[in-house]
Symmetry: C2
Subunit: 249 residues, 2 copies
């Protein structure tokens, strides 16, 4: 592939249909490309300006002028280095480990929110996030960037959420749904293995998910806000899972 | 003021210098304008399309065509209703109440993050947020929108943070700084009244703030993430303040 073709190919990966077709996605900017390279995740190609390649010690990078990279990248700043990474092959969702906590997202639409949830999961040592079909693609550039490298350490599965949750519940997994109408998480003795389901920002939890969840838990509220951002709610609830689980999982 | 002049005036409030000059700011979209109107906050004017005014029952609104409002508003969707609200007069930062928790932000630059912190504070019943001088303006449209009404219930003060923290510490207030190098918040017996200081996303905590803080506390980490978003970290730490404080403050 000529550099011109490579740039055109890279640019096409801004669109989901080309990410799916080629099984590749974009990673942008020094910070997240650095996370990619140190993670051991399969890399197809790295494009960089000569300066940036020098700064980052990228010996294998394809050197491209800055104005060409600006046409490929979606960042306000940081387009001097852009990597093409391999998407993982889809696989089944395996049974939970004994002490495992998995997050599930029921219809998340905002890629920045999904990325921030992955960053939260990555912080708390959560390895898997389930998304309902129809949720936003985790490999969209905005999500990859917001995850701050979390996408390389937290596996995202797309599934038909209700049957999967029902199957897990039947197998003895504690299924918790987060909703402000639930009981305070502080009053719960949290069980593991567990799946914690968070609803979409605009529609909350679906009735089907609510029905299959064993317990509905809430972040205790003491003020006037009507709701919390999904990543902020995930962070608050993961704190209590971490505390009750003795942090190390 | 003619409608034309009013629209021009409203549009000028996208810029800080005009917000400061007129002591007014913009509130956009049905959700946040609804929060404004139900909060009792002083409103200067509401501009809306005839349809939107009908839907929201806005009898006092100035009716304006949609294309005119699109030129004033900054939202992707929701510009059919835009309010001009009065900025509060700057006032001093009063001593903390006996059980009060105040958040302080050391150099926050992203308006979406500041707004989300205000939404978190609003959820947990925190009434005051301190920002260091040079932090982003809380009345910038993006912050107002991300706060989801939090801006109407949580007071934002701008101050010279280090002397203020030193004064509060001398008066017996527990000053906590959040930093991933700190001790786990789970191992702390959290005191009140308290100020919890969070650093900027790009530079973390300044040495001066670190020196004046009594204790440096962390959200325990069990995974690979390098850091947490400031609003996510605020949420995690406020959880533990809420739990140890018995939630009601």
């Amino acid at each position: 592939m000529s550099t011109k073709e490579l740039l055109k190919h890279a640019r096409s990966l801004q669109q989901k249909k080309f990410r799916d077709l080629h099984g590749e996605f974009l990673v942008q900017g020094p910070k997240v490309v650095g996370e990619l390279l140190s993670s051991g995740w399969p890399v197809v190609e790295v494009l960089a300006t000569a300066e940036q390649a020098g700064r980052m010690g990228l010996r294998q990078a394809v050197i491209v002028p800055a104005y060409e990279l600006e046409r490929v990248g979606t960042l306000e700043t940081g387009n001097e280095v852009i990597a093409i990474a391999r998407k993982p092959a889809p696989d089944g969702f395996e049974a939970l480990g004994a002490d495992e906590l998995v997050l599930a997202l029921d219809g998340i639409a905002d890629p920045g929110n999904l990325g921030t949830v992955l960053r939260v999961a990555d912080w708390f040592g959560i390895r898997r996030v389930l998304c309902s079909h129809g949720s936003v693609d985790a490999f969209i550039p905005k999500c990859v960037q917001s995850s701050m490298g979390g996408i390389f350490r937290v596996r995202v599965h797309y599934s038909d959420l209700v049957p999967l949750l029902a199957r897990e519940a039947a197998a003895g997994v504690a299924v918790y749904a987060a909703d402000m109408g639930g009981v305070s998480v502080f009053s719960e003795r949290l069980q593991r293995p567990a799946v914690l389901v968070l609803g979409s920002e605009s529609h909350g939890l679906s009735a089907e998910v609510r029905a299959v969840a064993g317990r509905v838990i809430a972040v205790p509220r003491n003020g006037g806000a009507e709701s919390l951002n999904v990543a902020v709610a995930a962070s608050a609830l993961c704190m209590e899972f971490a505390r009750q689980g003795g942090v190390a999982q």
